[in-house]
Structures are given as structure tokens and as C-alpha cells.
């Protein structure tokens, strides 16, 4: 590089050393891993023709399954939002025996095969399970094999996404801002509502987006607890599997494409919201 600097003029010097090579490798990799499979998914359904795709998606079962997948993912992520914040807070701000153990436990849903999680949750929440039996006896609630069971599985799967996105921001923030607010006469709830939460909002939104995206596509854990009744507890990924079982590859890809587009729209909206938040704070 120094030889180039000495002999050639500044016009020959790339702004970043090795830009061409690294950019090329990055794009090739992203193309291979992300773009090509997604493009294949986007192309496959059109084997049916436009009318075929419309017909394949107009099935009320598809609408019900998509509604359930996105609805349950939304509810589960909403449940996870305060829960995740609370956990992150406990890990960063509090010192108690077992804090490290708790810290490690939170990552378990990342590592555990989702089918294992699904089977464990079903065993626990089934009407004859440890938790399911008392819930049934005392309140008459059945969790497993209902939509509530799906939400329970998604809460489990999505939780670490929120904790792990909020935690570093909370750690970086320190207590200075809160202490300053206190010296200016803010009460505890005021400091929390006006100082802490606004600073955490972008991280919470990111965590929301990640947990939501993960929950929408979740199959392994949900399938065991859902009951899988058409129109009631049948999730969209199961519908994809069902169509594959019928060797209907294009129809399966059509549902996949619909999920992809819906997820993309929601994540885009979250990103825009986040940008607006950031601009508002400046």
C-alpha cells in the first residue's frame, strides 16, 4: 500500500484498503445464502400462474392459518416485551444470588431444539400435565391444544431475543441520567417513564422485531402443542408442510411467499417506526 502511495497519485488509492475484494466476497456470500434461496421461493409459486396463486391463497384455511401465525406471534411478543425488559433489568441492575445462573438460563431457548421445547411444554400444559391439570381443575382452562398453547410456545421461543437486545443498551446507559433526573426532582416513576424507557425504546423495538419474526416462522415447538385443527389451531408453517405432503410444491411456496411478504412489511414498518423514534429524540 505504501508503494502505491509513493509512486501513484492519490487518485489510485482506494478509500478503504481491499474494498473491492471484501465487498465482492460479502455480496457473493449474501447472494448465495440469502438472495438465491429467497428468489427461488419468490419464483416457484408462479408455476401455477397468477390465477393459480390467487386461488391457492384465497382458501379460507390459508387466511385462518396466516391470521393465527401472525396473531399468535404478535400476542406472544407483546407478552414478552415487559417480561424481557424486567429480566434484562434484573440481570443488569440487581445483584442477587443466582444472577449468573439466570443469565445463562435465558439463552436456553436459543440452544434447545425447538421440538424438545414443544414436547416439554405439551407434557407440562396438557390437561393431565403438572401445570395443565391444576389449571383445568381450578379455572377450567385448557392451554395445550388451543391457541393459548401456541402463544405459550412462542413466548418461550421469543423471550431471549428481547432480553438480549435490551440488556447491552441498559448496561451502557448507566445510572447517571436517572440520578440527574432525581436531583432535578423527578420521582421514580417519572424518571422511569421520561428518561429510561425512551432511551430503551429503540432496543425494545428491535427486540420486538426479532422475537416477532422468529415466532411467525416457528414450527418445531408449536406443532406439538397446537392441536393442529384446521381453521382453529393450524399455523401457516404447518399448512406449508401439508401442501408439501401432497407434493404441491408450488402451493407450499405460495404460502411461504405470502408469509415472507407479510413479515417483510411488518419488519419494514418497525424499522420506520424506530427511525422516527430516533429522529424524535434528537
Amino acid at each position: 500500500m505504501s508503494a502505491t502511495l509513493a509512486s501513484g497519485g492519490p487518485s489510485h488509492v482506494a478509500p478503504v484498503p481491499g474494498l473491492g475484494l471484501t465487498l465482492g466476497m460479502t455480496l457473493a456470500w449474501v447472494g448465495l445464502i440469502v438472495v438465491i434461496p429467497l428468489a427461488a421461493l419468490a419464483i416457484k409459486p408462479w408455476e401455477l400462474g397468477v390465477a393459480g396463486v390467487v386461488q391457492s391463497l384465497a382458501d379460507p384455511r390459508v387466511a385462518a392459518a396466516l391470521g393465527l401465525s401472525f396473531g399468535a406471534a404478535f400476542v406472544a411478543t407483546l407478552v414478552n416485551l415487559p417480561l424481557g425488559l424486567l429480566l434484562a433489568w434484573a440481570i443488569v441492575r440487581l445483584d442477587f444470588p443466582g444472577r449468573r445462573a439466570l443469565d445463562g438460563t435465558i439463552d436456553l431457548p436459543f440452544a434447545l431444539p425447538t421440538a424438545v421445547a414443544g414436547i416439554a411444554l405439551t407434557a407440562l400444559l396438557a390437561p393431565n400435565g403438572w401445570l395443565g391439570a391444576p389449571l383445568m381443575a381450578v379455572f377450567g382452562w385448557q392451554v395445550a391444544y388451543t391457541q393459548a398453547g401456541i402463544v405459550a410456545a412462542l413466548v418461550f421461543v421469543g423471550l431471549p431475543f428481547i432480553v438480549r437486545t435490551v440488556e447491552p443498551v441498559l448496561r451502557d446507559m448507566g445510572r447517571d441520567a436517572e440520578e440527574a433526573a432525581a436531583t432535578l426532582g423527578a420521582t421514580r416513576p417519572q424518571a422511569l417513564g421520561r428518561v429510561v424507557l425512551p432511551a430503551l425504546a429503540p432496543a425494545l423495538l428491535t427486540g420486538f422485531g426479532l422475537a416477532f419474526a422468529r415466532s411467525v416462522g416457528e414450527y418445531g415447538s408449536v406443532i406439538f402443542i397446537a392441536g393442529n385443527m384446521p381453521m382453529a389451531t393450524e399455523i401457516a408453517p404447518l399448512l406449508i408442510v401439508i401442501r408439501l405432503e401432497q407434493f404441491d410444491y408450488a402451493g407450499a411456496a405460495a404460502v411461504g411467499l405470502a408469509m415472507l411478504l407479510l413479515s417483510f412489511a411488518i419488519l419494514l414498518a418497525l424499522n420506520l417506526l424506530q427511525r422516527a423514534l430516533r429522529r424524535g429524540r434528537r
Binding site: S56, Y145, I223, N228, M231, V241, I242, E245, F247
Partner: protein
């Protein structure tokens, strides 16, 4: 913390990948045969693979290893279509082998190449109930009692569940005044009383035996016997309805793969061996009904005589049954839509 975990996971994944790539090259004999099968044949083929390999070695001197892969029948067929190098398929229903044949991997006339529609053993659908049969379920009509809850997998994802559905439909057709319309109404009622639809027979059996769901599980005969063993503490009983369906789990050599890999001779010998006395005895031992009539009557206590309809006889073959009942927009979709 997280990054350390992820790095560790990645490392272990890489190691796993490296070992899984390395083993076939190092540890196995040169000759292997892959049998792609469905779920409840695990025990049968584990035993048959060993006897066949021993016999093949005695006959030809070649050391052979037979591997078997198990899973839902439709999923297994799809894996073969998508490139799994199976030499042989032994699946739950002819329709799944037809699907492979349609894509040119198996000759279209595969069913005529071996005796008995290429189904060396048969099975049927029976009821598994709880100890003492508290809801007194003896025949298909008892399933429609209002307080009975039925466990079956989803016919759209499970081969076994399609046999369940067709057996019930066949029963409904035989009732006085039975027609397609009355059968559809009865089947609609049946599925109203199904609380959980798992994707496969294994999942349904777990829901029934371990999670305490439902009063009766519609089961493959052979799997019902395995379940009695496996879930001894759950206290289950088999009920043989007087009427059921003749399930013919079919077998075929995957021509395209066997020819390319040069395994045709042994693949054909493998399937023919299932019809030989030794193979038939093994099938019977693992609760499949043998085709050998002498052997079947010798085992009459385990395989009670039942009035069995066939898919060809009542539904005009699997292709028609699939199209009318199970494809998107078919009868099953209609009766489960609310």
C-alpha cells in the same frame, strides 16, 4: 456471553459436520443399500436387514450393509423425489410410491412387478382404547356416540390417517341407506369429535397414551401391538372392529437410483426375500399380516379374521381416493372447514 455461546455452537456444528462427512467414507463396507421406509416398520426392518445381509453374504460372498430411514410416509417419498439416494422404498401406501413414479424415478408399472400388488404384508386399522373399554367402543358406529373423543393424525399429512378415514367412510357407505352424502355427514361428525390432529401416527399415539387425550385411537394394527408394549403403564387395550380396511403397505425398487448405483440385483433380492418364508415369518412376528395363508391361519389368534374392504374395490384406487378426499378443496377440506 452470547457470542461465546454462538461461537461454541458453531464449532461443535462444524465438528459434527466434519465427522458425519468422514464416517461414510471410512467406516462402511463398499456395498450399502438404503431402504427408505415409514414410521412403524423400525423393528421389522432392523431385524430383516440383518438376516438379509447374512443371507446375501452366504450366497454371494459380498459384505453388504442395509440402512433404513424412517419417517412419515409422504415426507419420505418427498425426500426420495428431492434426491435421497434410496435403492428401495417401503412406504405406507401405494399413492406415495406413485408420486415417486410420476417423477420418473420408478417405472410406472411398479405395482405389477411383485406379487400381491407389491405389498408383501398387510395391515389393517383397529381401535386402541383405555383399560376396560369404559366407553364400550366395539364398532365404527360407536365412535359417533356424543361423549366419545377420537384421536387420529391428520389425513393430509399422515398415510395411516388416510387409511383410518377411508375405513370409516367404507363403514358409513355400508350402513342402511348409505351413500356418499351420508358417509360425508358421518365423517364430518367424526372429525367434530377429534380434539387434536397431530401430523403423524407417532405424535397421535403420544397424545393418546401419554397426554390422556381422547377415548379411542385409530391405529395401524401393528402399531397398536407395539403401543401395548411401549405404554404398559397407560393400560391400553386393542379392540378389533368386525369390519375394517385392508392396508397394503407397498414396496418398490427405485429404478433410477438402483441402476446408477449398480444395486439392482440385491435390491430386488431384498424385496423378494420379504415374500419368502423367512421374511413372512418376520413380518408376522412384528404384527404385520403375512400374505402366506398357512402362516396367517397359524397366527389366527393374533390376527383375528375381519371383514376387510380394499381401496381399489371401494374407492377406485389411491389416485382417485387422494383426489376426491384429501387434495386441497377435497372432501376432507370441506368437512373440516367451519
Amino acid at each position: 456471553m452470547l457470542h461465546a455461546d454462538r461461537a461454541a455452537t458453531r464449532r461443535s456444528l462444524l465438528t459434527a459436520l466434519a465427522t458425519s462427512l468422514a464416517t461414510p467414507a471410512l467406516g462402511q463396507p463398499a456395498l450399502t443399500l438404503l431402504n427408505v421406509s415409514y414410521d412403524p416398520t423400525r423393528e421389522l426392518y432392523r431385524e430383516y436387514n440383518q438376516t438379509f445381509a447374512a443371507r446375501w453374504r452366504a450366497q454371494t460372498g459380498q459384505v453388504l450393509r442395509v440402512n433404513t430411514s424412517h419417517g412419515g410416509s409422504g415426507r419420505q417419498a418427498r425426500a426420495v423425489i428431492d434426491g435421497l439416494q434410496a435403492d428401495i422404498v417401503t412406504l405406507a401406501l401405494a399413492y406415495d410410491i406413485d408420486a415417486i413414479a410420476e417423477r420418473g424415478l420408478i417405472a410406472r408399472d411398479w405395482m405389477a412387478r411383485l406379487p400381491f400388488n407389491s405389498a408383501p404384508y398387510t395391515s389393517t386399522i383397529v381401535f386402541l382404547v383405555r383399560r376396560g373399554n369404559p366407553k364400550a367402543i366395539r364398532d365404527w358406529g360407536d365412535l359417533l356416540k356424543p361423549d366419545v373423543r377420537i384421536i387420529t393424525p391428520n389425513p393430509k399429512t399422515s398415510g395411516g390417517a388416510r387409511w383410518n378415514y377411508l375405513a370409516f367412510w367404507g363403514w358409513a357407505l355400508r350402513q342402511p341407506g348409505g351413500s356418499a352424502a351420508t358417509a360425508e355427514a358421518a365423517t364430518r361428525q367424526l372429525f367434530r369429535q377429534v380434539p387434536v390432529l397431530d401430523t403423524g401416527a407417532r405424535g397421535s399415539l403420544t397424545s393418546f397414551a401419554q397426554r390422556g387425550q381422547g377415548d379411542v385411537f385409530l391405529s395401524w394394527e401393528n402399531e397398536a401391538h407395539l403401543a401395548l408394549e411401549e405404554f404398559k403403564e397407560a393400560g391400553l387395550e386393542i379392540v378389533y372392529p368386525p369390519f375394517s380396511i385392508l392396508a397394503e403397505p407397498s414396496v418398490a425398487v427405485v429404478d433410477a437410483n438402483a441402476d446408477r448405483r449398480g444395486t439392482r440385483a440385491m435390491a430386488e433380492a431384498y424385496l423378494q426375500g420379504l415374500y419368502a418364508p423367512e421374511g413372512q415369518a418376520l413380518a408376522a412376528r412384528h404384527f404385520y399380516r403375512p400374505r402366506d395363508t398357512a402362516l396367517l391361519s397359524a397366527n389366527a389368534a393374533r390376527f383375528p379374521n375381519m371383514d376387510l374392504i380394499t381401496v381399489d374395490g371401494v374407492f377406485g384406487g389411491w389416485a382417485a381416493a387422494q383426489r376426491i378426499h384429501f387434495n386441497d378443496g377435497g372432501v376432507f377440506d370441506r368437512i373440516t372447514a367451519r
